[in-house]
Amino acid sequence: MAVCVAVIGKDNSPLYLSTTDMDKELELQYRVHAALDVIEEKCQVGVKGTPETKELYLGLLYATETHKIYGFVTNTKVKLILVIDSGNIALRENEVRAMFRNLHILYTDAVCNPFFLPGEQLISKKFDRAVQKLMSGNI
């Protein structure tokens, strides 16, 4: 389903990045970084569309020929980004939403681990395994 999952901290530092295809990792990282500008724009307060901005899920951020990039920002300003293959037309909006919800739950669980230091990179085998599962779509 998804080809890349990224977690970006409140100061825009990368906390976690995982891809299905190692060869394309750099390219996907660029996609994720480009998405941060769009997220910032969408999260500005006092700009059009008040009901939408209240939701944590931001929807489609932008699309390229090969990928679609979706975003989600938690109340604590942590950004979750999913990169999905454009060829996957069967994937519906609410499925993406569900993926984000699951990812958010995984993230909060990881943060509640006493060995995780806030602001540090997220290194957790459990989180890693769960994200791999999420990306392959069998959750």
């Binding site: 409140k10 109340n75 993230y107």
Partner: protein, 152 residues
């Protein structure tokens, strides 16, 4: 009811442990434990909450939902000068309700509120509000928390 006492006992033990020996007036460990707890807890608690509009809304969330989940009651009063100062009043603060009101007991009150100061500071910090939190106990079991938002 029996489950709730466990948290009170644990808290009392942590206070004893942190202030044991010659660290009787050093609240930094307690404050730090509170900070990390608040930091992690708020991540979980704001999971299904819509995005906060402004600072006041965030503080209100702390006073209602956050407070309820820990102390089983809401705060009794919240006041602000709209310039980053907030005063939160709890007339029956959970960690103080089991202490007999009196002069001598009042001296020991600060150590039972240090954890909560850190808790609030940690929660706000994770929500993007840097603040300093101090507590004031004038009459057990009432307690006032002063939240001062630092704007940089």
């Amino acid at each position: 009811m029996s489950e709730e006492i466990v948290f009170d006992c644990l808290h009392a033990e942590i206070v004893n442990y942190c202030l044991y020996g010659n660290k009787e007036n050093d609240f930094s460990t307690l404050e730090y434990i509170g900070f990390t707890t608040g930091y992690r807890l708020i991540e979980r608690m704001t999971r299904d909450v819509p995005r906060f509009k402004d600072e006041l809304e965030t503080i209100k969330f702390i006073c209602t939902d956050f407070w309820t989940s820990i102390y089983k009651k809401q705060v009794d009063n919240l006041r602000t000068n709209n310039q980053g100062m907030y005063v939160v009043q709890d007339k029956a603060f959970r960690f103080l309700t089991r202490i007999t009101p009196g002069e001598k007991q009042l001296e020991h009150a600060p150590k039972f509120v240090a954890f909560t100061c850190g808790l609030v500071r940690g929660a706000l910090s994770n929500l993007g509000i840097n603040s300093s939190v101090t507590a004031e106990v004038q009459c057990i079991p009432a307690c006032k928390f002063h939240i001062e938002v630092s704007r940089a």
